[in-house]
Subunit: 370 residues, 2 copies
């Protein structure tokens, strides 16, 4: 019963208050959704007696809407925390969505579990589009779902390349899932609806208002296990997606480009602020995979062990992969050490239990072996 | 007398042993140059009785050379540690040079004091050359000397752009200062000799042998206050210059480029390993200047204070300059925060004594004011 009440309260609340309404978020954090909405309905005030202002003014109209019926008619489902399809960790956002509307054949939680957000400037360059396409095709080959925002530029290229590679893609919209925006991308958005998942926290019919675009970015960051920005001007909204990913402790990545391109100024600024520079899908997969591993207790030990290494050892260790071997030549080239230094470091890592030699090269020692 | 003995011993030693001869370096570290060379001359052995091998075999020929006379004839000077012209901190290299040969009108120590090494691939691209030229012109305008290796590609472009901007440039050669190499750069090297400083640890007449190129890179890193690599393949020697700069605790910087350019693979790898991404002369100057400041005691406090800041505060603080103000707009764009967040962060930095508001914007609070 409690779960049903919570679900109803969240759906109603999504018609009453934007998720970035700090006052409502505070009341909910203190009293819970059921109590907050119940009080508003009963007393026209918040549980503590605080004025909820416009929220109450919207009550009558919101109560008249039957969202479950609307969902049925649209072929959409309404997700709330605790549902099997609710993406892992989405509630850890500073302002989590009240609920999510989803449509499309994919299972959002399952797709999110191995996913990367690929986002960027609307005014992308040919370079940015080209890199985005290569990155997405590569991520699809590694079994990743690509999450983006269906906007012009990098977003649209990310979805298109993923679909072309027959991969799974999730689009998070700022307006309702029945309000394709930008209109010129209606065809693309329809294809995502047919093959992947369309997601929005805005109820059906809701307009893609400016604040909702900014709010939408946090959901992209919250659904995906890591976020890559391919191109971004200094003031690009894509940078806010990175900020949310960082707040969630998820990998934050940026692709470099010409120092003379305005569309790389934002990615360079992010790298200077601590985002990881990535140049291909392998590097993205390594980072997103690594954090996935880091959440498991044993690998944390491994990462802690690596923290204590000397610089040369870390250089070499960082280029070893956990489940496939790397040739010494390759490790040497990537680490920038001499052959002697590389071999020395590998032997030392072996002694420390952090690396092992196979027939065709070296790999990180499997955790269970320690 | 002691200083004269040391000088004579170092000059003789530079004819006897390459500075990367670990065995000789060990004996010298233990017994000093005077004792080591004295013993070799007297007993044909090291002070502890160890065999110095080929060093002793070279003695007779080396003693027959009058290097002070050669220096006089070449218009060169021989520098040893303790000389006013000996660059600060050069002795902190793992294998410091025995002595340096210098020629040209510049004062090496004075130039080194505000200098940046700009190095990179021999097979530079048009992009790399263009960025190098812009960077050097910018650094000259900020009063920096550009240090490089006179090689083809990025090195030559760095020297040429610096000379074109009427700046000071220092070339560190692998062979003797009278052995211009590569030969095609003889004209360029002659211009540096006439206007800046040519430096080498290899005695006059010495060939630019392969090992000496690698050894030369550590001197570039040791002379300059920071090192930027503009373009580098994965196996580029320029990466070893960065490695030495890092070992000296000096700023290590790399310029990003297209992820599809082989000549940016090395710079991207370095950024992934911790090199600071830089896109223009201002960013280079800020880093090299900052470390310079960090050596002064009070600024260290400032940097420690910044270490404890929240991410938003650090983002904002990092874009404030110490001696000129930045507009709020500009700080906002660079930090990637909203206007509200930026203003909030500035106020908080002000309360912490780390920033102050001027008529036309904000700046880092002068150290003396705290």
């Amino acid at each position: 019963m409690r779960r049903e009440d919570e679900r109803r309260a969240r759906i109603l609340l999504s018609r009453l208050a934007e998720p970035y309404d700090e006052r409502v978020q505070q009341v909910v954090a203190e009293h819970g959704v059921v109590e907050t909405v119940g009080c508003a309905v009963r007393d026209g005030r918040a549980p503590g007696g605080a004025d909820l202002g416009r929220l109450v003014a919207r009550l009558a109209r919101a109560e008249a809407v039957d969202d479950e019926r609307i969902a049925g008619r649209l072929g959409a489902r309404i997700l709330v925390p605790g549902d099997p399809e609710w993406p892992d960790g989405l509630d850890q956002l500073e302002h989590p969505p009240w609920c999510l509307w989803a449509t499309g054949p994919g299972d959002l939680a399952a797709l999110a579990d191995r996913s990367v957000a690929v986002v960027g400037a609307r005014a992308s360059t040919a370079y940015g589009d080209h890199v985005t396409a290569g990155l997405c095709v590569d991520l699809v080959a590694r079994g990743f779902t690509v999450v983006s925002g269906a906007a012009f530029g990098i977003d649209a290229t990310a979805h298109r390349a993923t679909l072309a590679a027959e991969g799974s893609t999730v689009a998070v919209l700022a307006g309702g899932v029945d309000v394709p925006y930008p209109r010129a991308n209606t065809g693309l958005i329809d294809r995502i609806r047919r093959t992947g998942v369309l997601v929005s926290e805005t109820p059906p019919g809701g307009a893609p208002a400016r604040m909702r675009f900014l709010a939408r970015n946090r959901i992209i960051a919250g659904v995906a296990r890591g976020t890559v920005v391919v191109e971004a001007g200094l003031r690009s909204g894509a940078r806010s997606t990175l900020k949310h990913a960082r707040e969630l402790g998820r990998p934050v990545m940026a692709v470099p480009g010409s120092v003379e391109s305005l569309m790389s100024q934002g990615t360079h600024a992010e790298i200077r602020l601590g985002a990881e520079l990535v140049t291909d899908g392998a590097e993205v997969a390594e980072l997103v995979g690594r954090i996935g591993d880091d959440l498991a207790p044993v690998k944390q030990g491994e990462s802690r062990a690596a923290d204590g290494l000397t610089e040369d050892l870390r250089r070499v260790w960082q280029w070893l992969r956990p489940r496939s071997s790397s040739a010494v030549d390759d490790v040497m080239a990537r680490s920038g050490l001499t052959l002697r230094e590389t071999l020395g470091a590998l032997r030392e890592l072996e002694r420390a239990g952090l690396a092992e030699e196979l027939l065709d090269g070296w790999q990180r020692r499997p955790v269970g072996a320690r």
